[in-house]
Amino acid sequence: MPPQVSRKPSRSSKTKVEVRRTPFVVILVFTLLGIIGIATGEPRRVLEQAVQVCLSCIGVG
């Protein structure tokens, strides 16, 4: 019977860097939201509005 090889990291390693997964999940969720927004055509609407002077934004409308 061949000897079993342990794949667990050695406890003797000097520095243990723990990668945080939460930021990647958050980024993924908001990327998906953005993709849904793009798929529904929101960027076109944003562009239509942004190329016009927003009178209320500048305080005269």
Partner: protein, 305 residues
């Protein structure tokens, strides 16, 4: 590090305000880049603006949501929120410290020599109210007989819009001056108050009013790039309190929602290398071999921002 940050701020400001033909054309940029959002607060009616302001664009979509539903679409700002969420997830309020044009303006105003004052920490919660009410609820719910809402934050509050869009547009287009009434005076008053306040206190608009900063602040505990405190090295000397432009007590709350990751505490204050930068949990940059947990020291009578 402060110099690098200043240059990044300037570069970012120039990138999102790169339309320099406006003195000739006398109008705003109308090209395709405006489909992109600026990471910081930058009014898209500014004559030089090449990108959209996420807060302005979000309000516009929410204010017109009834019309788009009538036309068979549902534009509720997922594109904008997705963009802001990705920026928040990666950088959080580092956007305020490194990329926001109005943050740069306030930083420069604070450099004017004067007596400096703090800002009561309770005022930090106001900006969440501006985000919830002036950016989301009021544009969505308060509509006229045609079903159109208003961009409440832009219309009644935003000093960045007055400074970078309102005043330049009134100067360029004389026809608009006749339309400038009480509404413009109100916004002008708010802008002047914030600019005077920014001379005496560090970043008052960011700390008390900015809805974009409030949104990014929600990512304080989950953002990818953040500062980390090594408790074994921290001596609680409170040197980090003295240099923070946002009034954060870093050794007491390392994940503070106000932290704009300007790195002043790491770079200028901490002598024990207790503060480091990390990306997704992985420390970046070397750490010098300095003494660990030396006795606490007094910091003297410096201004507490």
């Amino acid at each position: 590090m402060e110099t690098i940050r200043r240059w990044v701020q300037v570069l970012s400001t120039l990138l999102v305000n790169g339309y320099w033909e406006f003195p000739v054309t006398r109008t705003i940029y109308q090209g395709p880049l405006k489909v992109l959002c600026s990471p910081g607060l930058n009014c898209y009616s500014c004559p030089a603006a090449t990108t959209s302001c996420p807060i302005g664009a979000l309000q516009q979509l929410l204010a017109g949501v009834r019309h788009t539903i009538d036309s068979g679409q549902l534009y509720i700002g997922l594109y904008i929120v997705g963009f802001m969420g990705v920026m928040g997830g990666v950088l959080g309020r580092a956007v305020c410290g490194w990329l926001c044009p109005f943050g740069l303006i306030q930083d420069l105003l604070y450099k004017i020599p004067s007596r400096k004052f703090g800002i009561p920490s309770v005022l930090r919660y106001l900006k969440y109210g501006f985000l919830a009410f002036f950016v989301i609820l009021l544009p969505l719910l308060v509509v006229d007989h045609m079903g159109s809402g208003q961009t409440w934050f832009c219309k009644y509050v935003c000093p960045a819009g007055t400074l970078t869009a309102g005043i330049p547009m009134l100067l360029m287009q004389p026809g608009l001056r006749q339309a400038a009434g009480l509404l413009f005076l109100n916004k002008l008053f708010i802008m002047v108050m914030f600019m005077i306040w920014a001379v005496y206190a560090s970043r008052p608009f960011c700390r008390t009013t900015c809805p974009l900063g409030a949104f990014y602040a929600l990512f304080a505990k989950v953002k990818l790039v953040r500062l980390r405190l090594d408790h074994s090295r921290c001596t609680n000397c409170k040197a980090c309190h003295q240099v923070c432009p946002m009034g954060v007590k870093f050794n007491e709350s390392p994940d503070d929602a106000e932290c704009i990751t300007c790195l002043a505490c790491m770079d200028k204050a901490c002598e024990f290398d207790a503060i480091s930068l990390e990306i997704g949990g992985v420390p970046v940059g070397g750490r010098a071999s300095r003494p660990v947990a030396a006795p606490a020291r007094e910091t003297g009578n410096r201004v507490n921002r």
